[in-house]
């Protein structure tokens, strides 16, 4: 690694050659305000002009996010010229911004407001014309409000990096420019998979999840039996919203908070995950032994299911017909549980807390309903849950640790917990499939080959009783399409594939807390590189703490089949727990 000598405000430093001024300054302990620069140049449009500094050898001020350091360079961050220029850049952005910050759900986590504070920008410095704006609220998953867009391009970059989809682009030119799907369509009328990765990187409130907090409030007011179930990945990240270090599991406090919010029952979706493994594992065994469509692909991730329906309609028979865990559990709550408690399914309102925004689309699918009753009535994201907790006045950090409700669906295995990370569903399924095929538990319970926390493809060959099962895992559609094209070409060597919509799996879902170094002063500089691994670790450690680590050994799952469902893939199981898919047009007629 070659280095160069630079000076910042006259103080000499030695930094890595090739860094931008912004990165070099960070390494030396300076945070230059910036907006469009994100994640090691994932987005480096240099469009916002917020990070201007003085540097010797350059004419005028330079955008530090793209300007590389050089030997002998003297950088001035806090010269009057630089400070004023940065303030002016922010004031110009504010002059064309919808400043209804009180009503904005991004308030408190808005990077524009943050740089406005840091630079001392006044919102009335440049009063003038506002460009025409558009509001898209048609998609169940996410909302686009161009009145808050600063045209940084991070969302465009993320959609391309994660999925090679490029749903969003800059439309028109000059003052009329705005970011949108082609033809200024709604996300709902474009090939958007509603994963929410763009929401995760938006610095302002221009891209947000479609909030369903109002639905939950209304259900409470209507006196419904409001039941909540939380997905595994939520506990691994919720703490970040309340100042805990990234990767701190806050399961006990989350349960306590949910109870204090007034939910009648607080369940873990892990029970549903165990149920999914029973159904999906059995389906895989059927396909393996009776010549079904192979490879079978998991169907837990609604972002991935959307992608399949929009881009690979011909491969839909490869998808497992299993519903995702929270849908399965919702169906069980409204049937088995309702019967046990003597409550009519219509009077039950099931809320899922999810790291995901595509789940907001999934819950509304016709194919997910049983007797025209939806399994789940509202989906709120990890971020929305944090908002509800703050609104209710609950001091999260002072809550005691509490336990899940333990009646007929409180138990769960470690296999269910790891669903939240890429490779987890595969590992959980293999634990059970191994047992079903051999009649004994695998001694080495951890399938390290399938573990990971990043996008990309991993593969493994597992020997079960002399039969080799080839498996592959992909997260993010950019990786997944490689495996899908192999299947399409008839060249796939796998029997079982796990695909997750978001890079890294649910821990990095579109509904998870924002990771911004400017709001995480206690974290390392490289937190954007490590947060996925830290969140994944929180889940793997919970798996290790569980006594029962295979879905088929969960006593309440065994009881559910004995008392109600019969056996996996039974007629009743199919009615409640399985679904269907249909190819969709990318740009349907409006």
């Amino acid at each position: 690694m070659s280095t160069v000598n630079i000076k910042i405000e006259g103080i000499p430093y030695q930094v890595e050659n090739g860094l931008t001024i912004l990165e070099a300054a960070k390494a030396c302990g300076y945070e230059i305000p910036s907006l469009c620069a994100f994640n090691h140049g994932e987005c480096n449009a240099a469009s916002c002009r917020v990070c201007l500094v003085e540097a010797t050898g350059a004419r005028g001020l330079v955008a530090s996010c793209v300007y590389p350091v050089a030997e002998g360079m003297e950088i001035k961050i806090s010269s009057q010229k630089a400070v004023e220029a940065r303030r002016r850049s922010v004031e110009l952005l504010l002059s064309n911004h919808n400043k209804n910050c009180q009503q904005c759900d991004k308030n408190g986590q808005c990077e524009l407001l943050h740089v406005a504070n840091v630079t001392g920008a006044r919102d009335d410095a440049f009063a003038g014309v506002h460009s025409e704006t558009y509001l898209d609220t048609l998609a169940p998953g996410l909302v686009r409000d161009t009145s808050k867009c600063i045209l940084c391009g991070r969302c465009i970059a993320r959609c391309n990096n994660a999925h090679a989809l490029g749903i969003l682009g800059f439309e028109n030119r000059g003052f009329k420019t705005f970011v949108s799907p082609a033809q200024n369509r709604s996300f709902a009328e474009s090939p958007c998979i509603q994963c929410g990765q763009c929401v995760n990187v938006c610095p302002t409130g221009a891209l947000m999840e479609h909030s369903e907090i109002g639905l939950v409030d209304a259900a409470f007011r209507a006196g419904k039996h409001v039941i909540v179930q939380a997905a595994p990945a939520v506990r691994a990240a919720l703490g970040e919203e309340f100042g805990y270090p990234v990767g701190t599991p806050v399961t006990g406090k989350m349960i306590a908070a949910l109870r204090r919010l007034g939910f009648e029952r607080v369940y873990d979706v892990n029970f549903g995950a165990d149920l999914t493994i029973m159904e999906e594992g059995t389906e895989l065994l059927h396909r393996l032994t009776e010549g079904g469509t192979l490879p079978m692909i998991t169907s837990c991730s609604p972002g991935w299911v959307n992608y399949a329906e929009l881009q690979y309609g011909d491969l839909l028979p490869h998808l497992s017909t299993c519903k995702s865990p929270h849908q399965m559990q919702g169906a069980i709550i409204k049937s088995y549980w309702a019967k046990e408690k003597g409550i009519a399914p219509e009077d039950i309102f099931v809320v899922s807390v999810m790291p995901c925004i595509a789940k907001k689309y999934e819950e509304k699918r016709e194919q997910e309903k049983v007797n025209n009753i939806p399994d789940v009535d509202a989906v709120i994201t990890t971020r929305e849950l944090a908002r509800m907790i703050r609104k209710s006045g609950i001091l999260f950090n002072r809550l005691p640790d509490e336990e899940w409700d333990q009646d007929i669906m409180g138990d769960y295995s470690g296999a269910g917990v790891i669903f939240g990370v890429t490779g987890g569903v595969m590992e959980a399924a293999l634990r059970t499939v191994y047992f079903k095929l051999t009649g004994k538990e695998k001694e080495e319970i951890v399938f390290t080959e399938v573990r990971g926390h990043e996008a990309g493809i991993r593969e493994a060959s597992i020997d079960i009783n002399g039969t080799t099962v080839n498996v592959a895992i992909a997260s993010g559609m950019r990786s997944a399409r490689v495996l899908l094209d192999e299947i399409r070409a008839g060249k796939s060597k796998y029997q079982f594939i796990e695909i997750m919509g978001c890079p890294g799996g649910c821990i990095n879902g579109g509904g998870q807390p924002y990771v911004r170094s400017c709001f995480l002063p206690e974290e390392d500089d490289n937190i954007l590189d490590t947060y996925k691994e830290k969140r994944a670790q929180a889940l793997y450690s919970e798996d290790e703490r569980q006594v029962i680590r295979q879905s088929h050994n969960n006593p309440q799952i065994i009881e559910l089949y004995e008392k109600y469902l019969g056996e996996p893939n039974s007629h009743l199981a199919h009615e409640l727990l399985h679904t269907s898919y249909a190819a969709r047009e990318k740009f349907p007629e409006k």
Binding site: G166, G169, F170, E171, S180, A182, Q183, K586, F587
Partner: protein, 167 residues
């Protein structure tokens, strides 16, 4: 949205494939399609996206960025009024306003009979003859507001003659 017919689909794919090795294939492909069909609607952009791997939203962005590309069919005669700095200073705005008034269309629109499209152009590099107007490639130098009526009449007469001519 009506999907493309097989012949058009084939033709668009041909245009894409013969340009894929160019340095900036997208611009050349879109120019060729614009010249061939006079406009580039979304269903054509979808085909271009499939062939080039460029996302539809990005193609849509390019098409809406450059005024040379059009999303809707253009008229038989495309009147381009330059509004670059020199032409603007020399009265280009008054010229385009006059066309607009006489044809009853705004810049970017096409007359109901499909004869004329009015376009506002950025600098076309003809500053020496400002204000410049081009109609289907013919350049009208130093255009005056008073000449506009005459120019339109010339094209209308041409059309009427054709209609009157024996088959």
């Amino acid at each position: 949205m009506g999907k493309l017919n097989a012949a058009a689909d084939q033709k668009i794919r041909e245009i894409c494939r013969r340009n894929l090795n160019e340095k900036t294939p997208l611009m050349i492909i879109l120019s060729d399609i614009q010249n061939e069909y006079g406009y580039i609607p979304l269903e054509v952009q979808e085909v271009v996206s499939e062939e080039t791997g460029v996302p539809v939203a990005e193609i849509y962005g390019v098409v809406t960025f450059y005024s040379f590309f059009s999303l809707t069919p253009k008229g038989k005669y495309v009147i381009g009024c330059c509004l670059g700095t020199a032409c603007y200073v020399k009265g280009g705005q008054q010229v385009i306003d006059k066309f607009s008034e006489l044809l009853h269309i705004k810049p970017g629109e096409t007359t109901e009979d499909g004869l004329f499209t009015l376009d506002a152009l950025r600098c076309i590099g003809a500053c020496g003859i400002a204000p410049a107007v081009t109609i289907n490639g013919t350049v009208y130098p130093k255009m005056a507001v008073s000449q506009v009526q005459e120019v339109i009449a010339g094209y209308l007469n041409k059309e009427n003659e054709k209609e009157g001519a024996p088959a």
